[in-house]
């Protein structure tokens, strides 16, 4: 039975699934219900000086009928009194001593202010502190949140102020709204941070109401940029996590945040080196109950792979991530269509023609043909040929032979053919194919030794100049 318990930078947690600092961790009653549901830890909704929030606050991106692919918010930090939050932190810790409670903090950039809040949070019983240097809207206009997290010097300075008083581990939450996240992570490390968490939300305007011309969310006819999160941001978060974990000057224990919705997403963050993951949007969408499958699914996968603890696979992906210049230019793969699986949608055909390298063809024929088969027909002529056909309703009495029974079988002329000599192995067709495992990319041995761009460039430098004449 795999053991999901983790020790993250000194913070013990029954499992690596934490709630991110956000509405799901607004109050003690919520956090206790979350722990009952199985969450290992919770980063309290950022506390500091009480604020007033707007109505409305959120907007989202739907995609092909799926709700909340991405969520955007213009919410500030906790709008509840500080002492109430502190009291409730104490209450939760008393009742749930085994779960991790991390206090997320944000106060004005004054040393005393940070000292005071650190002491208050730890006195309340917090197991650790997360410094919110990431909030991209509102708070940043008052010199807090990402206004701090975007300037390495401020990050380092405020981290060190917190560390001056802190008795528990200090986690610095990084903003993605910066050109190189490593610079800020290094600053946090220099400031003495025990860990980092990444990412906070990404600056965004999610959409515009086409009737009122107002962006969403609408606050009395106006809007402002917000912070973007949810499934859409996961790739960005994974990349930033990888950048931090691969940088020796930045590397610290890292809590992965951004678009985690399932155990699969979580496993990916662990494979890139994260010790815990934090979740917000998925819980805002479906509730605390989603943690059950996160635990169950991850345990199953770990059993299958023979991993006993998170440490057993944490960071395993890192050696596989490198820079472009180290990739083997002599590696060749080509697309292969499994004809038994192909349903004949011809999406790979049009994708390769219009979006790749014109090497998937619709030139297969069933029976004998009059004259030569036209090879490499362009999409428009295929469509025109179809429009020119005369189709009639097959009626049982007259055309019993035509269709029945063929619904399950893809007509061969609809199964595309890959011209392997032209295929550049880009993956696009495999990505658009709706059927699992139908298009696979198959390695073609080139007989050539591995050669990277860097190596090729170097050998060119050494090569004698070309001879003319």
């Amino acid at each position: 039975m795999p053991d999901l318990a983790v020790n993250f930078a000194g913070i013990a947690s029954p499992n690596p699934f934490w709630l991110a600092s956000a509405p799901p961790t607004n109050c003690g009653e919520q956090v206790m219900r979350a722990f009952d549901a199985g969450w290992g830890g919770a980063v309290w909704k950022t506390i500091g000086e009480q604020v007033t929030n707007t109505a409305s606050r959120y907007s989202s991106i739907d995609w092909n009928g799926q709700r909340m692919m991405g969520l955007n918010n213009i919410e500030l930090i906790s709008d509840r009194p500080l002492d109430v939050n502190l009291c409730e932190i104490a209450e939760v810790k008393k009742r749930y001593p085994k779960n991790a409670v991390i206090a997320s903090l944000m106060v004005e950039s004054k040393r005393e202010a940070w000292h005071r809040i650190v002491v208050q949070a730890e006195d309340a019983g917090a197991d650790g502190l997360e410094l919110n240097f990431g909030c991209p809207h509102g708070m940043s206009e008052r010199g807090m949140g990402s206004a701090v997290g975007q300037v390495p010097e401020y990050t380092e300075m405020i981290t060190s102020w917190a560390k001056e008083k802190a008795r528990t581990p200090v986690i610095v939450k990084l903003t993605p709204n910066i050109s190189d996240i490593r610079v800020i992570a290094r600053a946090a490390k220099r400031g003495g941070a025990d860990a980092v968490s990444a990412i906070n939300t990404i600056n965004s305007i999610t959409g515009i109401d086409l009737d009122t011309f107002t962006p969403r969310p609408n606050v009395d006819g106006k809007s402002t940029h917000g912070g973007y999160c949810g499934p859409a941001v996961k790739p960005i978060a994974l990349n930033m996590v990888q950048q931090v974990t691969s940088d020796p000057k930045a590397a610290l224990p890292i809590s992965g945040i951004g678009g985690v919705s399932t155990w699969r997403d979580a496993a990916e963050f662990f494979l890139l080196g994260c010790g815990t993951v934090q979740v917000c949007t998925a819980v805002m969408h479906y509730g605390y109950r989603i943690v059950e499958d996160m635990i169950d699914g991850l345990e199953d996968w770990m059993r299958e792979k023979g991993f006993a603890t998170i440490e057993d696979f944490r960071g395993l992906t890192l050696p596989h991530v490198t820079e472009w210049k180290h990739l083997n230019l002599n590696y060749k793969i080509v697309a292969h269509i499994d004809e038994a699986k192909c349903i004949g949608c011809d999406l790979c055909y049009i994708a390769c023609w219009d979006g790749a390298h014109q090497c998937i063809h619709r030139d297969r024929v069933t029976g004998p043909v009059d004259g030569p088969v036209e090879l490499h027909t362009v999409p428009a002529s295929i469509e025109a040929a179809t429009r020119a056909t005369i189709a009639v309703t097959p009626i049982p009495r007259l055309d019993a032979h035509t269709r029945d029974g063929s619904k399950d079988k893809t007509p061969v002329e609809r199964i595309p053919r890959v011209d392997e000599t032209e295929c550049v192995g880009c993956n696009l067709c495999a990505l658009v194919c709706p059927v699992d495992e139908c298009i696979t990319m198959v390695e073609v041995p080139t007989g050539l030794p591995s050669e990277t761009w860097e190596e090729r460039a170097r050998s060119k430098e050494c090569a004698p100049p070309a001879m003319h004449g």
Binding site: D346, R362, T386, T393
Partner: protein, 434 residues
Amino acid sequence: MREQHPIIAERFPDLHPPFAAQAATVEANRCLNCFDAPCTAACPTHIDVPKFIKKIASGNLGGSARTILDANVLGASCSRVCPVDVLCEGACVMHRYNKQPIEIARLQRFAMDGFHALGGRLPKKFEDSRPGHIACIGAGPASLACAAELAQQGFGVTVFERRPLPGGLNTYGVAEYKLPAWASLREIELIEDLGVEFQFGAEIDAEKLAEIEREFDLVFIGVGLGAGHGLKIPGGDHSGVVDALEFIAAYKTAKITSTNGKVAVIGAGNTAIDAANAALRLGAAEVSIVYRRKRENMSAFGFEYEHAKQEGVRFLWQTLPVRVITDGGMLEFMECTRVDDAVLPVAGSEFLLPCDLIITAVGQSPLLDLLEELKGVTLEKGRVVIERRTGRTTNPRYFAGGDCVNGGREVVDAVADGKRAAIAMTRHFEATYA
């Protein structure tokens, strides 16, 4: 007719109820947007199915309807009456994906209902009017599609129809739970709106034909098929023996709103099934379909057969009517005999089937009286011979399409024929007056 009789409305509710807006979006999103989509290829009018479906998904309902109408001017009725199992939906790749084809017809109806609700009008394809006058004989789907396209192209069209209302079998024949007559008529109003002239009560015979020949440049024949073959057995001329088409037209026009007692329907095509289902819905106690061959030989679509079973229709296979037995002028029994695979009576298998009404649905005969008057137009087995791509008959001034050409297929086939003929006529005029 423009409003459904309340009893008919109650007994013939939509077989495939319309999508609610949210459900339509979900379904539209499910479509894969195939390239050179097989659903489009299977549609006789080649409606660009993924194009209109994805317009529903993007919230461009007007564009969706325009896409449908551009290919098929009777897109609304087709969305309700097409046997999609053997057409677009039968060809959908989803059969091989998760076995759930996209509900193309219901999406098409959704787009068309939206179009009608917003008072949409058919667009012109050629702004000005051009020289060229065409007469369309019959106001069924074939002629309507032909007339609409020609009017859109700027030509003058007159439609001659012997009945009081247009639509042909779309108005008078198709099962009311698929397409109520009012919905057929609503769609045709848009064709009238294009400037097509309709003359009703205008039965075309040899004499009128001569007039038309003088007044019009080209003629389109879209007269469909004629009455059903009668019941040629002793007693078959009894007044309790009715033709399925008459029976169906009578209830669709609310001339009858109920059927009593036991009903025997002879034949096992789609028409027989429509008549049997209608008789049950109108209150018949028992309805039996009597067919001389076996189930696998029936000409009805498989899904129509399944539907009839659900409605509660009984099927008597390999059964042949022998004579009609009356009592005091009232229908009493139909004597039947069992037959073998060669349709030869099995001795001693005779039995009496009690019935109060006999409906015959054993195929329609061609309208030879008119067709044989068409000079230079070749017929084959009573069907007008045409060149498939242009609809042109062997007399270059005559074009034809629909049931009178194909011997009786579906509405969408008639529409495709009519449109092809109109396009060929347009080319003809463009060449003539260029």
